[in-house]
Amino acid sequence: MVRWKGIDWKAVGNAALETLRSIGRGDILLRMRVDKLFPFILYTFALALTSIWLSYKADQTMYRVETNKQIIENLKIDNAKKTCEIVGLTRISTVERMLLEAGSEVKAPDKPADIIKR
């Protein structure tokens, strides 16, 4: 059987009892002289809080960026599609066919346009 020598069990017991009493009294931190470190604890806490808050705001901003990107992407797609449709309508043959279908007498010019000199 191992015997523990050199340990003052009574003192340890007293210290543990005193610690429990301090916890009960609420002065454990003061007994540990934590009041000296209090500004640093507050500072660390503030840093952690700021970091979490900034991370949250960054995520919010990035989400907004992604949403806007998607909106811009959708607009670009619509723009490309409409541009294609409009460009297709500028084809001379298409214009002539549409005019014909509309019953118009307008035809492609048979002579070049007169130019007013500046």
């Binding site: 992604e66 297709g88 001379i92 043959s93 070049p112 130019i115």
Partner: protein
């Protein structure tokens, strides 16, 4: 002293016991950890929700670059990218969760059960037929969804293809449907995007613009055609990489990660003029479409000063349905014996070497080359003899009537002893050169000239003089005639004008001179004069009434049939290549153009003076009418033309008069004029009376009076 030593020894023992105790604790802990690792690695099977908790919530994604656009010289869009979407549906989504009754989902106030899901699916299917327009009814869609939902498919194999390749606006409509609007976690809707190329002018210049097809599963089927294919490395751009992060709100870019910026593809501005392309396409199509015995044709229009290609049409008839489509770039990839259009190169050589002049007269001799018995008498010369009654012919007239006799006689007289001199001249005209043109045609044939040699057969030399025994692409012939139009300066034909990014030119391609002078200015002028006579009084007389004077040459060549090694089948049928090439206006050329028509086997001939010349005339007339440079210039002292007011309606007469009472003036005029009537009004305010009874029909242009109060 001894007692103190005993205390120290005792202390060491105590410390070693503590250390041993700690060692045992750590040892046990490490054994436990290793055992846990082995268990987790090989024996533990977590459920999906646990896996998600352990996986990192960020991932690397590839950013695809935007493919560059292709435009014509004026910036008109020829090709651009728009996405297409394929929609799959995980029909078994939430099925297991809902099996035990209604479930509460995050972000939803109410609970959702299987019956609710199916109700929404049914409502969605009611609207699907109208949106997708696939010829399926609502029941069919609903049945597919429910069959998939009720089946027991494993994860990864349970996605049902709903619709393929829909555009963005259709996708937006789908997203608004009852089930799909609940989001992908409830509906199981899965979108996959692919970039598709859009060609606003559809089939116009399709072979020149080209396309690419990349099949990762079958790389041998990959194809790279036209500008899209040849310049894929410019248009494609470079992929980027970025890290994405899953958050409560959705997937966002991880701001703390590294990013490889995507490099979007550059835009390519071509030298094409889409209006000229349209004119050429329409003219050629109109001429060759009715004749089923015509295999196809091509047109090239070039800018004289720069060699820029303004139009390149390639129409080939589909053997199955007879429809003309751009399937092969004949202008670049179909070399063949050009026939009489080559006589101009022969004449240029003769003039440059001082062997003849346009006015040089020679006996017609019944069109026969006495010392070349194998060559049949020239029919064109005989016709000339009959028509004019003359027994002599000038060189200019020889070109005008396209006499084989005249050119073969001259070449025989001057180059029979030194054929190498004649052939090397042809090389100087770059008629053997593919020009490293911006486009290549896979499976095409290249231009060829006979080898420069003094041992050339005498018949070979004579057939070369009239455009046989050589192979030329339409582009080569056009470039040669362009050099004549350009006073002897030969320009390299080119199609790519510039690379652009965000509207800024990043690389500009300048015109390239192939040969500063293939002939003297005097020779070029003489040839222009002779070619003008061809269109005014010769074989190209169909261009006589063109809107501006054209200098050009017809050519009709029999096509050598490789499979039977002859020009003619046993039943006397032939294939022809009919060509008209020229430039206009002859006095100050701006454009060079060539029209080539290729026939199938046929018993009747087709000449360069017929369909090709007619097509050429239409092209000339339409380009002339469009180009304001040829318009009348009105100065301070000019006579302003009398303008006659002419009513232009958009509908034929006979439409009923609309009731415009109560309308504002603007709306009333729009309604009346749109129905073919003119409008006069008095007063201000709203229409209270109209002169013609609503619903009645009157003749087009009838004036309707409105009173406004």
């Amino acid at each position: 002293m001894a007692a103190r030593k005993d205390i120290q020894t005792e202390d060491r023992h105590r410390i070693s016991k503590i250390l041993w105790f700690l060692y045992c604790i750590f040892l046990l802990a490490s054994v436990a950890i290793i055992a846990k690792v082995v268990y987790l690695q090989y024996f533990w099977e977590p459920d999906s929700s646990t896996i998600n908790e352990f996986l990192p919530n960020n991932y690397k994604s590839t950013v695809k670059p935007e493919r560059g656009t292709i435009t014509d010289r004026n910036g008109k869009l020829l090709a651009t990218s728009t996405p297409l979407y394929t929609i799959h549906m995980d029909c078994q989504i939430l099925k297991r969760d809902m099996a035990g009754g209604k479930i509460k989902l995050w972000g939803r106030k109410d609970s959702l059960g299987e019956s609710d899901w199916r109700k929404m699916a049914r409502e969605m299917c009611q609207e699907l037929p109208a949106i997708l327009n696939e010829g399926r009814d609502a029941i069919s869609y609903y049945d597919s969804i429910i069959v998939n939902r009720d089946s027991r498919k494993k994860k990864g194999r349970r996605n049902m293809l709903l619709v393929k390749d829909i555009d963005h606006s259709t996708l937006e409509k789908l997203r608004q449907l009852p089930l799909f609007r609940e989001g992908k976690y409830i509906s199981g809707m899965k979108e996959s995007k692919t970039d598709a190329r859009k060609y606003p002018y559809e089939g116009l210049a399709a072979r020149v613009i080209g396309d690419i097809r990349i099949d990762p599963d079958e790389p041998q089927r990959n194809r790279f055609i036209g500008v899209e294919g040849e310049y894929d490395y410019i248009l494609h751009g470079k992929e980027g990489e970025q890290w994405m992060k899953e958050t409560d709100k959705g997937t966002v870019l991880d701001p703390d990660s590294t990013v490889v910026n995507v490099e979007h593809g550059a835009d390519i501005r071509t030298t094409l003029d889409i209006d000229i392309q349209d004119i050429a396409d329409r003219s050629l199509r109109k001429m060759i479409e009715p004749d089923e015995e015509i295999e196809g044709g091509c047109v090239v229009v070039m800018d004289v000063k720069t060699g820029a290609v303004r139009a390149m049409v390639n129409l080939q008839r589909d053997n199955k349905n007879g429809i003309l489509a751009e399937n092969f770039n004949m202008a670049v990839g179909r070399s063949g014996e050009p026939g009489s259009v080559f006589k101009t190169a022969t004449l240029m050589t003769l003039l440059e070497d001082g062997k003849t002049t346009l006015s040089h007269t020679m006996p017609t001799n019944g069109g026969k080359l006495n010392d070349f018995s194998k060559i049949k008498p020239c029919q064109e010369t005989l016709r000339y003899e009959r028509k004019t009654g003359k027994k002599t012919i000038t060189v200019g007239d020889g070109l005008r009537v396209s006499s084989n006799y005249v050119f073969q006689r001259l070449v025989a007289d001057h180059y029979q002893d030194c054929p190498d001199r004649f052939i090397s001249r042809l090389y100087e005209y770059n008629l053997h050169d593919a020009y490293k043109f911006d486009l290549k045609e896979k499976g095409g044939t290249l231009p060829e000239l006979p080898k420069v040699s003094n041992r050339m057969g005498k018949y070979d030399l004579l057939v070369t003089a009239i455009g046989y025994n050589v192979k030329e692409t339409p582009l080569n012939i056009a470039a040669f005639y362009n050099a004549i139009a350009n006073g002897g300066k030969m320009m390299k034909p080119y199609l790519i004008d510039a690379y652009e990014k965000n509207g800024q030119v990043t690389k500009k391609f300048e015109p390239v001179i192939l040969n500063g002078s293939i002939c003297s200015k005097a020779t070029a002028d003489s040839l222009t004069k002779a070619l003008t006579m061809v269109t005014l009084e010769g074989t190209g007389a169909r261009l006589k009434n063109a809107k501006c004077v054209v200098a050009g040459k017809t050519g009709t060549a029999r096509v050598y049939l490789e499979d039977i090694k002859n020009y003619e089948t046993q039943d006397g049928r032939r294939k022809y290549q009919a060509t008209f090439v020229g430039f206009f206006p002859a006095e100050k050329p701006l454009y060079t153009a060539i029209v080539c028509v290729y026939t199938k086997l046929r018993s009747t001939s087709i000449g360069g003076g017929s369909l090709p010349a007619m097509t050429f005339k239409e092209i000339v007339d339409d380009i002339w009418a469009l180009d304001t440079n040829w318009g009348k210039k009105l100065g301070k002292r000019s006579d302003v033309p009398d303008m006659k007011a002419q009513y232009i309606g958009t509908r034929k007469g006979g439409a009923p008069v609309p009731d415009v009472t109560g309308m504002g003036l603007k709306d009333a005029i729009y309604a009346l004029e749109n129905n073919g009537y003119r409008c006069e009004y008095e007063g201000i305010g709203h229409v209270v009376r109209q002169s013609h009874m609503p619903g009645q029909k009157y003749s087009k242009g009838e004036t309707i009076r409105l009173v406004l109060e």
